[in-house]
């Protein structure tokens, strides 16, 4: 298991998703709506992805693959990876990560929406569809 470092940018994205999920949950409870919101579903998938990544970055459900067009921030000979929070959905999220800076460490570089559609809906204050969850 790797020790995990978060860039400030990645943590900000995570906290933004957290805040939205908490807000939706509170609003739903006030209205006594039982079905969880899209924001809560998305946040659960992001948190689960991060948890899997920290435990086993090679877990098949993460669909982790190398990102050739991005340079590793610590070592140009090494890679940056992308893990799927969701896939086969227009609102999918991605987690960019890399090994380092030290041995047995892993850095969460960024958590990003995948599509412009997801970005637009995010900026309007709602979230994209749930998509396919990691197993």
């Amino acid at each position: 298991m790797h020790a995990v470092k978060w860039t400030k940018a990645a943590k900000e994205s995570y906290e933004d998703l957290t805040a939205k999920a908490v807000a939706r949950s509170d609003a739903r409870k006030k209205k006594k709506i039982r079905k969880s919101s899209v924001d809560e579903g998305l946040f659960q998938q992001v948190a689960k992805t991060i948890s899997l990544l920290c435990t086993n970055p090679r877990q098949p459900g993460l669909k982790t693959h190398e990102y050739d067009s991005i340079e590793n921030p610590y070592d140009k000979q090494k890679k940056v990876f992308e893990a799927y929070v969701q896939y086969q959905t227009s609102g999918a999220y991605r987690v960019f990560w890399c090994y380092g800076p030290d041995a047995r460490e892993l850095t969460i570089v960024a958590i990003t929406p995948h599509s412009q559609c997801a970005v637009n809906r995010l900026e309007k204050g709602s979230s994209p569809g749930k998509g396919v969850r990691n197993q």
Partner: protein, 92 residues
């Protein structure tokens, strides 16, 4: 600017400073051969460069990593998952 003559096979050398670069050669204009250096991006990564929000987040993250600008404390992901599971349980 310099003048070069192509050999019998239509080849010209640009010099070692261009070595290893990928270029696009545009011969659509019969009076002009245009050579433009390009950067190749895998097709499945192209979305990132079309999505300014995502690209900005990744670049900021990479800058943070290079400069050692890490979060003081990691988010409590396991705690968040517990909270989410409790929400699910209450929903049922």
């Amino acid at each position: 600017m310099t003048t070069k003559t192509l050999d019998s096979k239509g080849r010209v050398t640009l010099g070692s400073r261009f070595a290893g670069q990928t270029v696009v050669i545009d011969v659509s204009n019969p009076t002009c051969i245009m050579i433009r250096p390009v950067v190749m991006i895998p097709a499945d990564e192209a979305w990132l460069y079309k999505n300014q929000t995502a690209l900005g987040l990744v670049r900021q993250g990479l800058n943070d990593a290079r400069s050692g600008n890490f979060a003081d404390a990691s988010p409590d992901v396991d705690g968040d998952l517990s909270w989410l599971n409790n929400v699910e349980d209450q929903r049922r």
